[in-house]
Symmetry: D2
């Protein structure tokens, strides 16, 4: 998968639907933001945990794509763990994904989610499998 393919797909899938916008992308750091609209919020005005997990999964997966050995390789999330650390107020939500491990067969990425006031509201750690070319 090429980065361009990832982004084209993203536009039409859940990531685009949640209006996730990538703001920088390097091999060792990808950042993005989304605006927590009504559909992203729970009754208490918190950012929906599901929106946070989908956001992090998208940003870290893009990071993994940027580190694939070739465009014939692919990647899939095999597991993901989130700790919710605080409530996010409506407004912008920011993600920053960094690799903890980039191996030949797996990668581990950490994503920090911050609210508009830049308070950390969640941390996500996920394992990406590197899929060999078929």
């Amino acid at each position: 998968m090429s980065p361009a393919e990832f982004l084209a797909d993203h536009e039409t899938n859940l990531g685009g639907h949640l209006a996730i916008r990538f703001t920088s992308h390097q091999r060792d750091c990808v950042t993005a933001e989304m605006t927590a609209q009504k559909t992203h919020l729970t009754i208490g005005g918190r950012v929906h945990g599901g929106a946070i997990m989908a956001f992090a999964d998208t940003v870290a997966a893009y990071g993994a794509v940027l580190n694939l050995p070739s465009e014939q390789h692919g990647t899939t999330t095999i597991e993901s763990k989130t700790s919710f650390l605080g409530a996010g107020e409506p407004g912008a939500v920011y993600a920053e994904s960094r690799p903890l491990h980039r191996g030949r067969t797996t990668m581990v990425w950490e994503t920090t989610i911050r609210s508009q006031s830049r308070k950390v509201i969640a941390m996500v750690w996920q394992t990406q499998m590197v899929l060999q070319p078929r």
Copy 2:
């Protein structure tokens, strides 16, 4: 939070947006389904991991709400772990949430996600904090 309040909120937030429909709700088992439309899918036709995690979070949270000591109590997800076990084809996706632990201060719920062919495509385990009345 009452179950009715949860459901009313659900309709307008991410859960409703993903068209998650509850199909049964007992204190020890909640089931739901959603249809994996284009926005729920990735380029490879897999159900988006983010949609799966948001789905599970919603269903298990409803289970937790059904077990709160009173409608003055609340609940919030403090952490969530997902293992992705297989690709889901487009079509219906099913969730079944069951409690592994229902304590006074925390609950742990397990959600099994199946694809239309009833194959297990993900397992989600999450810890819900029981929030005391303010």
Copy 3:
């Protein structure tokens, strides 16, 4: 790695040190027990979380070994998640490991830890990588 090699290694490593004894071993279920002695307990008389995690890791890893395609294949734990659900009294502690997924490159195992009174005190989910012959 053969099951016999695993067990021989086990005797001299942490598993043997914690006096973990396998009580049954089938490809889809491995059981074991250990006795929670002073070194396995914390000041409050709870079974030490570390002893529980080491116990589960050992039992599930043996389950994975029993499912390797050949004795030339190996396995290693790539990640593990534990939920502690209750305090364990001193005495016997029981583990039961079952596979949630047995794929060509990864397996996911679930281990239920029970105290002497057969109360569930922890659940452990871990991903095993299947290592190809070198």
Copy 4:
């Protein structure tokens, strides 16, 4: 629980048994080391995952104890997630625990485990419940 009580307990439980030695302890960072002896190793010469998880649990729990509001409060690990990132050679193993969140009812701690060559071999994230005085 006071820090002194924690350390006295530690000496006689699994932590002492694994010869874990604290090397510094501040409220926002606790470090420790242990020597990976034969009982800490697997057949392949890797540090046993169980020893790593027990090590991290001990160090982060001590960090949590240092942050309790009073000595009448207690703490217990409610869940723990480990990612194994590389093999550790025999010799010293180092742990460094830092808080990601210190709330009134829960804390989240991150522990980095390094081998003698200072390579990161595992990361552990755990949630500690703060137990109110009885």
